[in-house]
Structure formats: structure tokens, C-alpha cells
């Protein structure tokens, strides 16, 4: 099935305190598909996500949403874009002073004229999707980390977004709950045609849900394609990532040796 790309990334660089964290990232995120961005911790995948949702300023001409330059968005365009997206953060990012159901109602309360009761029912529907129907009246502090994350997903879904960004959905979850979340992600794409971007380092879940996989390493894209293509890739770093091999000789060994041996370079 050919679907038009929603987001195109054309050579995105990113720096953090003078250090290059993204280096010429280039790939496309097609509509109505699940794109999984994979890589070890610190490979820059979360930074990439922050660019895509407009939390980190993007240089002009690097990221295009429906053909429009994200880097050139003014405040209004950015708000319009953000009302089309939902974002789940690593920690869930629930508001501590509100109940779980109220948390989910926040975007609805701000952006719509819906009455409180309707908002509450909508919040319960979303909570049920993530398996937390009974926890609407709990405070976030009463939930476990995994439950908070699921509640965060429910909040990201509150406005029925076109594009859903998810940062590490299954980290810290037990295998059964994680599988349930995977199923939900696939279901959202199938039933609502949502475009979903998942950042993860969980191999199994990635191959399970992805229509497209992007593998990152040290700020670069080292492979991109359908899951089968990634599995068949012969790039040694991809193979290494897939087979969960640990590096015997870390790439920064020279730095390490010069530090520990107090060699003056």
C-alpha cells in the first residue's frame, strides 16, 4: 500500500552543548503506518523525537510536515501542528495535582467546549483502552511506573491525534502489559489510521508492531526499511544490534585509555 509521507526528515543535524548528537538524519515517516525508531540508549533517538514534536528548535529546511517546513513554523502553525499530535513521554509526565481522569481531560478542557461529564466519559474510554478503567479517580502518585506510563498514553490519545509519538512505551512494563500496549498501537493504526512513531530499544516489540524500522547509532541512521529488510541487512552494526552482541572493544577505547592512564594527548 502506498501512503503519502507525512513527515520527511532531510538531513537533520542537532547539537547539544557543542556536541553533535544527530548527524544528517534522513528518512520519511509515511502516513497511517507504524514507524519504529530503534537504537541503543544515547544514540539520539529521543533528541530526534524532541525535534519532531517541536520541543527542540529545528533548522529550516530539515524537517517537513505535509510538505511544510517545521523549522519555519511560527507560533500559530506550531500550535496547529501540535493539536494534530499526541505525545507520550518516557516518564508518562502526568500532572501530580490532578487525578488520572482529570489528567486526560486537560487537553479537552482547554481546547474544546465540551461539558465536564462528556469529558469524563471520554477520559474513561481512553483509560479503558490502556487497561486502566478502574483507576480514573486515583492520583498519579498512587500508580506504579508502568501504570503511569499507560495513563500518559491515554492522555496522548485524548484528542484523537492524527500522529502519535511514543517514547519507550514498554520500558519498565511487565511483558504481558507491554504486549497489550503493542496490540493497542497496532489497533490504533488499523482502526483509526493513526500515524505512529515509536522510539524504543525493545527488539521484539519493534518487529512486532513496525511497518517501517529505522535503526540509529551514534546520531546516524544506519538502516531503514520494512522489518524484513532490517532483518536481512548485512551492515555489521545492525547485525550486532539485532543479535544483542555487546561491543568487545568499545569505539571510544582510545579515549578511555588516555583518561585512565593519564596520558597527555
Amino acid at each position: 500500500m502506498l501512503t503519502p509521507s507525512i513527515i520527511e526528515i532531510r538531513g537533520l543535524d542537532s547539537y547539544y552543548r557543542g556536541r553533535r548528537v544527530l548527524d544528517g538524519i534522513r528518512f520519511e515517516i509515511p502516513g497511517n503506518q507504524v514507524t519504529v525508531i530503534m537504537g541503543v540508549s544515547g544514540c539520539g533517538k529521543t533528541t530526534l523525537l524532541r525535534h519532531l514534536v517541536g520541543l527542540k528548535p529545528t533548522e529550516r529546511g530539515r524537517v517537513f510536515v505535509d510538505g511544510e517546513d517545521l523549522g519555519g513554523f511560527g507560533e500559530q502553525k506550531l500550535q496547529a501542528y501540535r493539536s494534530r499530535i499526541g505525545v507520550l513521554f518516557q516518564s508518562g509526565a502526568l500532572f501530580n495535582s490532578l487525578t488520572v481522569a482529570e489528567n486526560i481531560g486537560v487537553p479537552l478542557k482547554v481546547h474544546t467546549r465540551l461539558p465536564e461529564e462528556t469529558i469524563r466519559i471520554m477520559a474513561l474510554i481512553k483509560l479503558n483502552m490502556v487497561g486502566l478503567a478502574k483507576f480514573g479517580d486515583f492520583m498519579p502518585s498512587q500508580l506504579s511506573g508502568g501504570m503511569r506510563k499507560r495513563a500518559g498514553l491515554a492522555r496522548a490519545l485524548a484528542m484523537d491525534p492524527e500522529i502519535l509519538f511514543v517514547d519507550e512505551p514498554s520500558s519498565g512494563l511487565d511483558p504481558i502489559t507491554a504486549a497489550g500496549l503493542d496490540r493497542l498501537i497496532v489497533e490504533l493504526r488499523e482502526t483509526l489510521g493513526m500515524t505512529i512513531v515509536v522510539v524504543t530499544h525493545e527488539l521484539e516489540s519493534a518487529f512486532h508492531i513496525a511497518d517501517q524500522i529505522v535503526v540509529m547509532d551514534e546520531g546516524r541512521v544506519i538502516a531503514a526499511g520494512a522489518p524484513e529488510e532490517i532483518r536481512a541487512a548485512d551492515d555489521p552494526r545492525v547485525r550486532q544490534f539485532l543479535s544483542r552482541e555487546t561491543d568487545l572493544r568499545p569505539p571510544d577505547l582510545d579515549d578511555y585509555l588516555s583518561i585512565i592512564l593519564a596520558r597527555n594527548r
Binding site: 547539544y16 552543548r17 524532541r50 514534536v53 517541536g54 520541543l55 500550535q79 496547529a80 501540535r82 493539536s83 499530535i85 499526541g86 505525545v87 513521554f89 518516557q90 516518564s91 509526565a93 502526568l94 500532572f95 501530580n96 495535582s97 486537560v106 487537553p107 478542557k109 482547554v110 481546547h111 500518559g152 492522555r155 484528542m159
Partner: protein, 261 residues
């Protein structure tokens, strides 16, 4: 030599950028009045927060300040044989000076620090990012209600502080030291004029603005400059917010007094 000049220049630019960002922060927060979400509920909630946090402690501070003012005033005034004026002395010092300053400092310590910590935690837990991603203006959502609530609550708390302080002065001056109640209140009535009250009100507005501005700003940018978002950043931000807010209150107290006198 050139290196020192470069360093000085860099420092000056940094401070300038800092001030600029603080100024923008205030402008954005004021602009937030006209932006969604609605302000009524959150403002009421914040007034309650500031009030319940500070009510008791301001009462205590005010009572004892009034009492000690009466004690000291009585001692000083008795040297000139005018103990009867102790009422006016207490009232004037409280209304013009101590009421606004004490309430502002107490609210900073109780509510301002808590505000800073609350917003700081929201920063390190990505909650502020989440607000932005919901297409909500985080300053309008978090800062504006607190600013409005501070501007409403602090003048009221100041008035309450004055009343309790004067009552404390009455206890010591009249009940303990034997000044007649008539001259205590009569002196107060004739010596306190509208200008005094106005100065107290202006001060409490200025202090509220500074205090909330600094405390929310410090919380909002918790860890951003250092690029680290650990829990220790919240305590660092809170401490510096309380210190900076207290100093600003005392400095601006002098400035306002010298302008209005």
C-alpha cells in the same frame, strides 16, 4: 589583558541574556491572561494555596512584631514622655513598612518556595514539555494564574498582617504597659493618613509581582541552563528563588519608599 576583557564581556552578555529572558518570561506570563485555559478556577485555587500556606505564620509574625514594636516604642517614647503615641508608632511602622515586608517574606518562604518547587518538578518530569505538546501555552497555564493569585492574595494578607500586628501592639501597650486604650487608638487615627495606607498597598503589589515572578521563573527554568534534570536541581532552584526574591523585596522596599516619600 584581552582575555580578561573577553571574559568580562562574556559575563556581561550572559547577564544581559538572563535579564532579557526574565523580562520575556514576565511579558509572556502577563500575555497569558488573554490566552486559554480559563483563569477563574486556577486563580481561586492558587489564592487558596497561598492563603492557607501563609495565614498562620503571618499571624504569628505579625502578632509578635506588633508586640515588640509596642515594647520598643514605649521604651523610646517614654524618654520623651510621650508614651501615648505608642499606638501611632506601631500602626505607622506596620502599615508603611513592616506589614508589607513581613507578609511578602513569609509568603516567599511558604508559598513562593513551594510554587518554585512544584513548577521545578514539572520541568524535570517533562510535564512542561507535555503541556507544550498539548498545544497549551505552559506559561499561561502555570504562571499566569499564580501571578494573578499573588497580586490578589498578598495585599489581603498584608492587611491581615497589619490588623493582627496592631492588635499585638495593643496587647502589650495597653494591657501590659498601661497606656490608655483611648490615647492608643486616638493617636493612631490622627497620625495614619491615606498616603501611609497607599504606600503599604503599592508595596504589597510590587512585592507580590517580584516574588511570584522570581519564584515561578526559577522553577520554570529548573536545570535548563545546566542541562541536567535531576532532583537536586529543584532544591537548587528553590533555594536561589527564595534568596533572590527576599533580596529583591528588601531592595525594592527601599526604592519604593524613596520614590513615594
Amino acid at each position: 589583558m584581552t582575555r580578561q576583557i573577553t571574559q568580562l564581556g562574556a559575563f556581561a552578555l550572559e547577564q544581559l541574556a538572563y535579564l532579557g529572558r526574565m523580562g520575556l518570561f514576565l511579558i509572556h506570563s502577563v500575555r497569558g491572561i488573554a490566552r486559554p485555559p480559563g483563569k477563574f478556577g486556577p486563580v481561586v485555587k492558587q489564592i487558596q494555596f497561598i492563603g492557607t500556606r501563609s495565614f498562620v505564620i503571618i499571624g504569628f509574625t505579625a502578632a509578635f512584631s506588633g508586640m515588640v514594636l509596642a515594647l520598643q516604642g514605649y521604651y523610646t517614647l517614654s524618654k520623651f514622655g510621650s508614651e501615648g503615641l505608642v499606638g501611632s508608632a506601631v500602626a505607622l511602622s506596620l502599615i508603611r513598612e513592616l506589614g508589607p515586608v513581613l507578609s511578602a517574606l513569609m509568603v516567599t518562604g511558604r508559598a513562593g518556595s513551594a510554587m518554585c518547587a512544584e513548577i521545578g518538578i514539572m520541568r524535570i518530569e517533562e510535564q512542561i514539555d507535555a503541556i507544550e505538546c498539548m498545544a497549551i501555552d505552559p506559561k499561561a497555564y502555570l504562571v499566569t494564574p499564580r501571578l494573578l493569585a499573588g497580586l490578589i492574595a498578598l495585599p489581603l494578607l498584608t492587611a491581615y498582617c497589619n490588623v493582627v500586628g496592631i492588635f499585638g501592639g495593643y496587647l502589650v501597650g495597653v494591657e501590659l504597659l498601661g497606656v490608655s486604650a483611648g490615647s492608643f487608638f486616638d493617636g493612631m487615627e490622627t497620625s495614619v493618613v491615606w498616603e501611609d495606607v497607599r504606600m503599604g498597598i503599592v508595596k504589597s503589589f510590587v512585592f507580590a509581582l517580584l516574588m511570584i515572578w522570581i519564584c515561578t521563573y526559577k522553577g520554570y527554568y529548573t536545570g535548563v541552563d545546566r542541562g541536567s534534570f535531576g532532583a537536586e536541581e529543584v532544591s537548587r532552584a528553590t533555594t536561589s528563588a527564595v534568596v533572590l526574591a527576599s533580596i529583591s523585596i528588601l531592595v525594592s522596599d527601599y526604592v519604593v519608599t524613596s520614590i513615594m516619600l
